[in-house]
């Protein structure tokens, strides 16, 4: 059982820190603008990014604070919007039947999370993949079958089965501090990687996949995020089977590694397609997927790690809708 309920010190701390960082960033950018230390183009870019964060942060933190249904609703919407970006980037949208199959799968798997029906939640991955595998066969158009089925299965894994683990976590009474930790840790993981890479330089990590990433940045993020996650997770999991320093370090490594892997996965997708961003809905950031790529792999990895030692919502009623 995890820590305390709503009003947990970690919940309050993360919300206050996120608001504080936003205000501090505004003050720094304001100061730089006032003293003329940045050129107008960079100033505009910085304000644009800050404005986007000012909209994104409440949209990310708000549902977590509001409750279980809000979290699962937000994860469903995020999954569908990510699917839209992905299908337009890969061309899957030209196969509306397959895109509709994935969208239905995303809705179903999030419904299973909302119903708190773990067996169905788990069963939906192989079942949806099976449906997607046969869905386009009646069209009697074998040309392109492997491509459209492969793209659809990949999409369902990423935005349905994978991301929905984030919503399922909300079935635990004490989900708030953990979800807030994950949402902020994946963002800070990127900041650590960027800062360590800039400070230390050195050889590139995977230059053909992502030319700006360095080995030092990846290792810096791994160290920084692991320590940060382990320290913040300690009060969350105090008194649970996860309350051992090496297990909390393991959690930190998983968050940092899966976060960076998700980032590199999206870079691989974009390089393969020959595009820079997945979309243009978030000014200064690109698409939703450019912002939330790290969460895609972190969600299932952390869910099953924490689930193995602690479990989620074990004392909560199950099948609350289908009864």
């Amino acid at each position: 059982m995890m820590g305390e309920a709503y009003g947990h010190a970690v919940t309050n701390g993360i919300v206050l820190a996120a608001g504080g960082v936003l205000l501090l960033a505004a003050a720094v950018i304001g100061l730089l603008s006032a003293t003329g230390r940045v050129n107008p183009a960079l100033r505009r870019e910085l304000w644009l990014r800050l404005a986007s964060w000012a909209v994104l942060l409440p949209l990310m933190l708000g549902p977590v604070l509001l409750g279980r249904v809000w979290v699962i609703g937000a994860v469903t919407l995020l999954g569908l919007l990510c699917l839209r970006e992905y299908d337009r980037a890969t061309g899957l949208f030209r196969e509306p039947l397959m895109a509709a199959g994935v969208a239905l799968g995303i809705v179903m798997v999030n419904f299973a999370a909302l119903d708190h029906w773990y067996n169905f939640f788990m069963a939906l991955f192989p079942l949806t993949v099976a449906v997607l595998a046969v869905l386009s066969i009646p069209l009697d158009r074998p040309s392109g079958y492997i491509q459209r089925t492969g793209l659809a299965v990949f999409a369902f894994f990423l935005f349905g089965a994978g991301l929905a683990h984030l919503g399922f976590m909300a079935n635990d009474r004490f989900y708030r501090p953990l979800l807030l930790l994950l949402l902020t840790a994946v963002a800070i993981n990127d900041v650590f990687a960027f800062t360590a890479g800039k400070l230390m330089g050195g050889p590139k990590l995977l230059p053909a996949t992502s030319p700006n990433k360095t080995v030092s940045g990846a290792l810096g993020a791994l160290c920084g995020t692991t320590v940060l996650v382990a320290c913040i997770a300690w009060p969350i999991f105090r008194g649970t089977p996860l309350d051992h320093w090496y297990l909390l370090v393991g959690l930190g490594i998983i968050v940092s590694f899966a976060g960076q892997a998700g980032d590199l996965m999206l870079s691989s997708i974009k390089r393969d397609l020959g595009i820079k961003d997945m979309g243009a809905v978030i000014p200064g950031h690109g698409g939703l997927l450019d912002r939330f790529n790290s969460l895609l792999l972190v969600s299932p990895a952390v869910f099953h790690y924490v689930g193995y030692y602690v479990g989620f919502g074990l004392d909560q009623p199950t099948r609350v809708i289908t009864g």
Binding site: A103, G279, A280
Partner: protein, 243 residues
């Protein structure tokens, strides 16, 4: 094994810019809206205008260009609604950019409901025409256009402009001539809403311009042939008296 990973033509555009892009490609959401809208328009045309369609058997497989006389806002709605379903989902009506795409809510309606693509009258560039040709030859789309350039204020057909030739001359994309009768009486320019009245759409056999070159003379030959074919479909003229 051939993989073809082709992002949407409008990929990377902001939502507002996407509405105004001639490369706009509808996704799942657009398809759902367009299907609902098409059902509503078909019901309306049947009930309020007793729409009669002749010559559906002339429609070739996509891609093709539909050209028709233009006397009313009902024209594009009727032509798109008359197409059978697989073709209807590939059909884009070319609409005046200065009328339908300057205001974002109107542009959203034109894009999502009517599946319109903007044409900027007197400002169309070679790039714009190449983009529209690619929609036909690469995407296999159906383009609905009104070569008169604007709605007739009297109901009488004006001369066709040469634009249609620039899209199809020298390609294997056929042009399907159509004549819509009754639209001017039902919803003339200047009237706020349509009033009930019969509509009769006649679809003619497709015209082939694969052997026509893209010279000025070639483009005029295409528009003249299209105009002649559309005029010949006028049901009133076919019965021996002008409408």
């Amino acid at each position: 094994m051939k993989w073809e990973l082709r992002p949407a033509r409008d990929h990377g555009l902001t939502p507002a810019a996407r509405l105004r892009s001639s490369g706009r490609e509808p996704g799942l959401g657009s398809l759902a809206i367009a299907t609902t809208w098409r059902g509503a328009v078909r019901t309306y045309l049947r009930l309020a205008h007793s729409l009669r369609v002749d010559g559906l058997e002339h429609l070739p497989p996509a891609p093709f260009v539909m050209v028709a006389n233009h006397a009313s806002h009902l024209d594009a709605l009727t032509l798109a609604a008359a197409l059978p379903r697989p073709l209807a989902h590939k059909a884009f009506a070319l609409a005046a950019g200065d009328t339908f795409f300057t205001n974002t809510p109107v542009a959203a309606f034109a894009a999502y409901a009517i599946n319109a693509l903007p044409v900027w009258r007197r400002h169309t560039t070679t790039g714009d025409l190449d983009a529209l040709r690619a929609r036909l030859t690469v995407d296999g789309a159906v383009l609905i256009l009104f070569p008169e350039g604007t709605r007739s204020r009297t109901g009488a057909m004006a001369r066709f402009r040469a634009g249609v030739g620039a899209l199809v001359a020298g390609t294997r994309v056929p042009v399907v001539p159509c004549y819509l009768a009754g639209a001017h009486a039902a919803w003339p320019a200047g009237q706020y809403l349509p009033r009930p009245g019969p509509l009769h759409l006649v679809i003619g056999p497709p015209l082939d311009f694969s052997g026509t070159d893209r010279s000025r003379a070639g483009l005029i030959a295409v528009s003249d042939a299209c105009e002649q074919a559309v005029r010949a479909l006028n049901p009133a003229q076919r019965e021996g008296s002008p409408e």
